[in-house]
């Protein structure tokens, strides 16, 4: 039962520090029979010194705790109680348990009434206490709240399932109050097992006694990973219903087909056309057709009627009209054969009704299964959300449902746990697996001050962080929202489909009517039969669903697939444009490069050592605030070099810095600085020029007025930039680099990563203008940048790709956001767009081709030339599987693998 999970999770609280601890704890104090437990020897000692200071606190926290999780009342029937003194014995045993508020055993009613706090004692413990006193318990009553029921069938389902369990005497579920009263025999089944039965059926349970119990259930869910999705449940119910409908229609279809083609099977005389026995069989078929039409095919009629009221028509209209026409004609042929001028006209088409209904219903069922897979990506994202957070409030660690976490809460995360919301680490370090959000499979090291993203998993260390984004603002929530929006957006290609589908169904109906007329007037005898076959076949073969489904379903899979790989595609339009790109502009800083300078080269002269030069330079720069200084200091730290305190630090603007360290005089600066101090540079000057040509920033170092060497820093290129750029070129894109750097540096970087076209010395505000210039050349241009400084350029480009920065994923100006900072994401995004568009086109082609070819053939276009006329049964099969095919084809995209070679 609930208490159990709770107790496994946190059994009791340390009265000193408020930490939740497992009970029994090694550290405890027995104070007049009351046990106080502690997290450590330290807390225990503190308590032992001044217990009164803490007891009050303990009681307060205990009472709030109880009130939030509720007091459980149970009645336990007791068997074989034959004296009133037994009652006292039992009471005494029960009261020995922790957390018992009251225990009264009534001899007359043979019942124990126990009130206890559910986080301290389990029902089972009470039962065993009664056993200990020498008695058995009879049946018990459990009242439970159930969430997620929405129809009478759920009630019977739960009741039935519960009653099948050993130990359950009776179960009555009430839909109105969303609760269940279960009579059971403790010992044979426990409350936990009962709850499991209900949870397994897909519902949520909560204790009606405790208002907060839902939170506990959430904890339980997190452990068992049983997300209850009502929509999924509805889908499964629908699938089951459809499958039952299919089986019903299919079984009845067998004898109907058998007797419908007496000549084919070579049946004896009395089963052939015209015999009176066959007529009776037809009558039976006509009656049997009714449950098939109005139960198995009920959705066709209800759908058609609803659409008709709204002056619209859909697939249901077509199917219901088709089978109704077949039924009416067949009934007339069965009961009033004499009204037909020729005997052969008095034929029946009941088999069409059975087979078409069975097949189309089966198709719908299969479609549900397939579509479930299509939306898996977003479900996975939603499932990533953590359910609870361990929050530090008033010095107490408490487990809260994630919805209750507020801004600036301090949250504790242990190894292996999910990070509940976005925030900034304030204590501790750890490596974090962010693959579910960024798609990057290598865990990331995080320290104090680093951002953590909700739903990622803490691998190694424990840490505390301050919640910075909660609820709807977390990166995950934003991602889900963006994916949902993109999935519901329309790709421009869909507009053609929309135009067509508006006219499609009525046009099919008209085609069917006109085909009937043409066959009646010009067709061969028996005209009426042929006309009817053609009429029904045209109605049945047309598949508006395949048409309507083609684009959205692929879009859904494609966008979802992107999200799985850390690529957020904003809309269907972005996806469609992305695959038409021919030019891609990459911003240098932060896109191709890391965006942060780092130490790259140390050159020594005059017999100085590398570490010596670096250590002393870093010691000087420690006092400087220049960004380049930070790079040098970090470079020294990475080599674990000792840094010293600098004296007489002096920054000479435009030149460099000077300081004394351990009695040595250090100069760090440019050529002007060295000249000012008349330092002999010799060939260092030449080497410095070379470094500058490579796009680096060199600085001369002089120690005790002697040239010691050069230290160079540069904004280093991301490790996979070069490869990604090569891949972009292989995709047929012209790659352009844009930067504010001078032309020499820019060219140097360009050369290193393999970019030939470099736009250098571009002011930030002119980037958008440069994008436009390329667009004016007739190019379709993508711009990749950081989303803040590059926002205007991103907006100007046909496709703006923003490189995400931490948890900020909803970048307004961008069409595609790459959560992971790598350029590989750009390659992936373009490949994915291409794959998705290809898939959409396949679907659309398939759907148009199918309908465009199927309808004329059904109308009998091939008959005059080849004598081919489609049977309505074949048409039904084709129609049923056309939309399944579309969904299945879209699901192929789920297997999309980026080809990074």
């Amino acid at each position: 039962m609930l208490t159990e999970e709770k107790s496994q999770f946190v059994k009791t609280y340390d009265p000193v520090c408020g930490m939740g601890i497992k009970s029994p704890s090694k550290n405890y104090v027995d104070l007049d029979g009351r046990i106080f437990e502690f997290c450590s020897e330290e807390c225990k000692q503190k308590f032992a010194l001044e217990p009164h200071k803490y007891i009050h606190k303990k009681e307060m926290s205990a009472s709030t705790y109880t009130s939030s999780y509720g007091i459980q009342k149970i009645q336990l029937p007791i068997i074989d109680m034959n004296c009133s003194s037994c009652a006292i014995n039992i009471e005494r045993e029960i009261k020995k348990l922790p957390g018992i508020k009251s225990a009264i055993v009534n001899y007359a009613t043979e019942t124990a009434y126990v009130e206890y706090s559910i986080d301290k004692t389990k029902t089972e413990e009470i039962i065993s206490a009664i056993k200990k006193a020498g008695y058995k318990t009879g049946r018990s009553i459990l009242k439970l709240g159930i969430k997620g029921m929405h129809c009478g069938s759920c009630v019977t389902k739960i009741e039935k399932e519960l009653k099948q369990k050993r130990g359950v005497i009776s179960a009555s579920v009430d839909l109105g109050t969303e609760s269940a009263i279960i009579n059971y025999i403790p010992g044979l089944i426990n409350t936990k097992e009962i709850k499991e039965v209900i949870v397994k059926l897909g519902y949520k349970v909560f204790d009606t006694a405790s208002p907060k119990a839902e939170a506990v259930v959430e904890v339980k869910e997190k452990k068992e990973v049983v997300p209850v999705d009502e929509n999924q449940l509805a889908r499964e119910i629908e699938y089951k219903i459809l499958m039952h409908k299919f089986i019903f229609a299919a079984i009845l279809a067998l004898p109907v087909i058998f007797f419908s083609y007496p000549t084919v099977w070579g049946l004896p005389e009395q089963f052939q056309m015209g015999s009176s026995l066959l007529r009776y069989i037809w009558m039976a078929m006509g009656i049997l057709a009714l449950p098939v039409m109005f139960w198995s095919g009920s959705q066709f009629y209800s759908g058609a009627i609803a659409a008709f009221r709204n002056h619209s028509a859909n697939m249901h209209t077509l199917i219901s009209t088709g089978i109704s026409a077949a039924w009416i004609y067949s009934m007339i042929a069965t009961y009033f054969p004499q009204i037909f001028p020729a005997a052969e006209l008095a034929d029946q088409f009941f088999d069409v009704i059975f087979v078409v209904v069975a097949l189309v219903v089966l198709g719908m069922a299969l479609e549900i299964k397939a579509k479930g897979k299509s939306s898996e990506a977003i479900k996975k994202l939603i499932g990533l959300q953590a359910k609870t957070a361990r929050v530090l409030r008033d010095g107490n660690e408490i487990d809260l449902p994630v919805e209750e976490v507020v801004l600036d809460d301090i949250i504790i995360v242990r190894p292996g746990e999910k990070i509940p919301v976005d925030g900034i680490i304030i204590d501790g370090t750890s490596s974090i697996d962010e693959s579910m959000i960024t798609g990057e499979s290598i865990p990331v090291e995080k320290h104090v001050g680093d951002e953590v993203i909700g739903a990622t998993i803490n691998k190694t260390g424990s840490f505390k962080f301050r919640a910075a984004k909660v609820g709807k603002d977390t990166a995950l929530s934003q991602i889900i929202q963006m994916v949902e929006q993109a999935q519901s957006s329309k790709a421009p290609i869909q507009k053609i489909v929309d135009k067509v589908s508006g006219y499609f169904v009525p046009a099919v109906i008209i085609t069917a009517i006109l085909s009937f007329v043409i066959w009646y007037v010009f067709g061969p005898a028996p005209q009426l039969i042929y006309s009817l076959i053609v009429f029904v076949t045209v109605l049945v073969i047309a598949c508006p669903c395949a048409l309507g489904l083609a684009t959205p379903i692929s879009l859904m899979v494609g966008v979802g697939k992107g999200a799985e790989n850390g690529i957020l595609i904003r809309s269907g339009e972005a996806l469609e444009t992305a695959q038409k790109l021919d030019t891609i502009i990459l911003d240098k800083t932060g896109t191709i490069t890391e965006g942060k300078p780092a130490l790259t080269d140390i050159i020594t002269a005059n017999g100085f050592f590398e570490n010596e030069v670096l250590s002393l330079s870093a010691s000087v720069e420690k006092s400087s605030e220049h960004p380049l200084a930070e790079a040098i200091v970090n470079g020294a730290k990475n080599k674990s070099l000792e840094l010293f305190d600098a004296q007489n630090f002096n920054a000479v603007p435009g030149h460099g810095v000077e300081a004394n360290i351990n009695g040595r005089k250090i100069l760090l600066g440019n050529l002007k600085m060295m000249n000012n101090f008349s330092i002999q540079l010799n060939d260092l000057e030449e080497q410095s020029r070379k470094l500058a040509d490579e796009g680096k920033t060199p600085m001369f170092v002089a120690i005790d007025n002697k040239a010691a060497g050069i230290i160079a820093v540069a904004d280093v290129i991301k490790p996979d930039s070069k490869e990604a750029i090569a891949q972009l070129k292989r995709l047929g894109l012209e790659v352009v680099m844009i930067t504010g750097d001078n032309i020499i540096t820019a060219k140097a970087i360009g050369k290193q990563v393999g970019i030939d076209i470099v736009l250098a010395e571009v002011l930030p505000e002119d980037k958008a203008f440069n994008v436009q210039k390329l667009q004016n050349e007739g190019r379709i241009v993508a711009m990749v940048g950081d989303g803040i400084n590059d926002a205007p350029a991103l907006a100007q480009a046909d496709i703006g790709l923003a490189i995400g920065t931490g948890t900020d994923v909803a970048i307004e100006a961008s069409d595609i956001t790459l959560i992971k900072g790598s350029l590989k994401g750009v390659v992936l995004a373009i490949q994915l767009s291409k794959a998705t568009m290809k898939n959409i086109k396949e679907n659309l082609f398939g759907a148009f081709f199918y309908n465009g070819l199927g309808i004329p053939i059904a109308a009998g276009l091939l008959y005059p030339f080849f004598g081919i006329l489609l049977s309505p049964i074949i048409a039904g099969a084709a129609m049923a599987f056309s939309s399944v095919t579309v969904v299945t084809n879209a699901n192929r995209l789920r297997r999309f693998k980026p080809s990074l070679k």
Partner: protein, 125 residues
């Protein structure tokens, strides 16, 4: 030409015209939604095989709240999509699922089910 053939031609053409008129040209009944005291234009849309009502008239610039109630489990209507606003909602059967919009620009905005089989329209004036 036999009389029956003649009748079939006349009947067929007549029926076709009727179909075309009914589905394409006949006036759909639109429901005008008045805004409440709080300024919200709120409507309940029943979803069962179709949307009832399916054409709704709203005033521009005022918040709109559409409460969908899907009274069926048929998967067809599981989702409702407002592609003009990139909005999509999964309609849980027998539950009220609200969609909130605010449309500034007068015009006609369609909404439909996931696969476009069932359609409705918002007319904003």
């Amino acid at each position: 030409m036999a009389i029956d053939q003649f009748l079939v031609i006349i009947g067929g053409l007549g029926l076709s015209t009727l179909v075309a008129w009914y589905f394409w040209f006949s006036e759909k009944k639109a429901v005008k939604i008045e805004s409440s005291d709080s300024g919200i234009q709120e409507a309940i849309i029943k979803v069962k095989g179709g949307y009832t009502p399916d054409v709704l008239i709203f005033e521009a610039g005022k918040p709109i709240k559409l409460n969908f109630i899907r009274e069926e489990t048929a998967v067809c209507t599981e989702e409702v999509v407002f592609s003009d606003f990139n909005k999509r909602a999964t309609l849980t059967p027998f539950k009220i699922v609200p969609i909130e919009l605010k449309i500034e620009k007068p015009g006609e905005y369609g909404f439909q089910c996931g696969m476009g089989m069932v359609k409705g329209k918002l007319i904003v004036q």
